[in-house]
C-alpha cells in the first residue's frame, strides 16, 4: 500500500502528507519520493519539524495515558467493600451498647439546660485564668499544632495528586 502520485507531490516538492509519512517512518511513499526527501534541504527541514511534532505528540499522549491509568488504579485501590463490611460489623457489635446508653443519653438531654450554662461559665473562668505566661504557652502550643496540621494537609494534598 503506497500513497498515490497526487497525494505524494506538491509541485516540485513532497506534499505535507508524504513528508509526515516519512517523518513517522512509514514506508508508504515511492522510492523516487524517498530519494527526493534525502536530497532536498527544504523537504529535509520539514521532515525534521514533522518528526519533532510526532515525537512531542506521541510522548504527551503516552504521559496522558499513563496518568489516566494511575488515576484509575488509585481509585480502585480504595477498599470500598472492606470499609463497608467493617462499618456493618461495627454497627452490629455496637448496637447493644448503644441501646444500653439510650436511657442515659435521654437523661442527659433533659439535664442539658442546667448543665450547659455551668459549662459555659467554667470555660469563661478558665480562659480568664490563662492570661499571662500560661496563656502565652497555650498560644505557642496552638501555633505549633496548627503548623503541624498545615504540613500534614499539604503532604496529603500532594500525595493525592492535587499538584501533580
Amino acid at each position: 500500500m503506497k500513497l498515490t502520485e497526487a497525494e505524494t507531490w506538491e509541485g516540485e516538492h513532497l506534499s505535507e502528507l508524504a513528508l509526515s509519512c516519512i517523518a513517522d517512518a512509514q514506508d508508504v511513499v515511492d522510492p523516487v519520493a524517498r530519494v527526493h526527501a534525502e536530497s532536498c534541504a527544504e523537504c529535509t527541514l520539514r521532515i525534521g519539524a514533522l518528526a519533532l511534532e510526532s515525537h512531542d505528540v506521541g510522548a504527551a499522549l503516552k504521559v496522558a495515558k499513563s496518568l489516566s491509568i494511575e488515576k484509575a488504579k488509585a481509585s480502585q485501590r480504595f477498599p470500598t467493600v472492606l470499609v463497608a463490611a467493617a462499618v456493618i460489623v461495627a454497627a452490629v457489635c455496637g448496637a447493644p451498647a448503644l441501646l444500653d446508653a439510650a436511657p442515659r443519653a435521654i437523661a442527659w438531654i433533659y439535664a442539658a439546660p442546667r448543665v450547659l450554662p455551668v459549662l459555659a461559665m467554667s470555660f469563661v473562668a478558665a480562659s480568664k485564668s490563662l492570661s499571662g505566661p500560661s496563656g502565652a504557652a497555650v498560644s505557642l502550643v496552638a501555633t505549633f499544632a496548627l503548623a503541624l496540621i498545615g504540613f500534614a494537609v499539604a503532604r496529603a494534598s500532594r500525595t493525592s495528586g492535587v499538584t501533580s
Binding site: 500513497l3 512509514q26 534525502e38 510522548a59 504527551a60 499522549l61
Partner: protein
C-alpha cells in the same frame, strides 16, 4: 540505499535495555542508520540548513549520548522515538548556548545582572507551578483527543499508543493508507496546536 534510512527503527526492537555485546553492536548500527533523520530534526530545531556544521555537531553528540546511555532504554521502547528525544534536547541546548553567546557578545561591557546569574542555576525538578501547568496541559490534550472525529481519534490512538503502522491501521479500519495518513496528520496537528497553547500568552 540512502533513501531507505529515514525508515529505520520505526518499531520496538525487544529488550534493548539489557544488552549483550552483540546487541550493543546492533544498537550502534541501528542508531547510525538514523543519522539522516537526526540531521533533519537538528536542522529543524536549530533553524539552519541540514549541512550546517552545528547540525553535524548535534548529531554526533546525540550518537555519543545514545550509545553511552543505551542501558537506560526501557524494554520495548522504540529506539527511534528515544533517539529523536535525545537529538531534540541536544539541539535545543545548542540553540540556547548560541543565544547566550550572542547575548554575552552584545553585553560584554555591561556588568552582570542578578537575573543573568539566576539563569545559570540549573533546574533540578519541576516546580509546583510547572507541575500544575503540566497537568492542565494533559487535561487539554485529553479534551483535544476526545474532540477529534471518531475515526481520526482511533487512527491517532492506534498509531501513537498501540504502535501500529499506517498500513496495519488501514487494514484494521478498512480504509486506504492515504486516508489513514490524512487522519493521523490532521489529528497530530490538532494535538500539537493544543500543546503549543501552553507557550502562548
Amino acid at each position: 540505499m540512502l533513501g531507505a534510512v529515514f525508515f529505520a527503527s520505526s518499531r520496538p526492537r525487544g529488550n534493548i535495555g539489557s544488552m549483550t555485546a552483540a546487541s550493543a553492536e546492533a544498537f550502534s548500527q541501528e542508531a547510525a542508520e538514523l543519522r539522516p533523520l537526526l540531521r533533519a530534526v537538528a536542522a529543524s530545531v536549530l533553524h539552519v540548513a541540514p549541512g550546517h556544521p552545528d547540525v553535524e555537531d548535534a548529531v554526533s553528540e546525540t550518537m555519543r549520548r545514545a550509545i553511552e546511555g543505551r542501558g537506560r532504554l526501557r524494554p520495548g521502547e522504540p529506539v527511534r522515538a528515544w533517539i529523536v528525544g535525545i537529538v531534540k534536547h541536544v539541539a535545543l541546548d545548542a540553540a540556547r548556548s548560541r543565544t547566550r553567546a550572542l547575548k554575552r557578545q552584545a553585553s560584554e561591557a555591561a556588568p552582570e545582572s542578578a537575573s543573568d546569574l539566576t539563569d545559570r542555576i540549573p533546574d533540578s525538578k519541576p516546580s509546583p507551578f510547572e507541575r500544575t501547568a503540566r497537568s492542565q496541559e494533559i487535561a487539554r490534550l485529553d479534551a483535544a483527543l476526545a474532540a477529534l472525529p471518531e475515526k481520526q481519534r482511533e487512527a491517532v490512538t492506534l498509531f501513537f499508543l498501540e504502535g501500529l503502522s499506517y498500513v496495519e491501521i488501514g487494514e484494521k479500519l478498512g480504509v486506504p493508507v492515504g486516508t489513514v495518513a490524512t487522519w493521523i496528520l490532521r489529528g497530530k496537528k490538532a494535538l500539537a496546536a493544543t500543546l503549543l497553547e501552553r507557550n502562548s500568552p
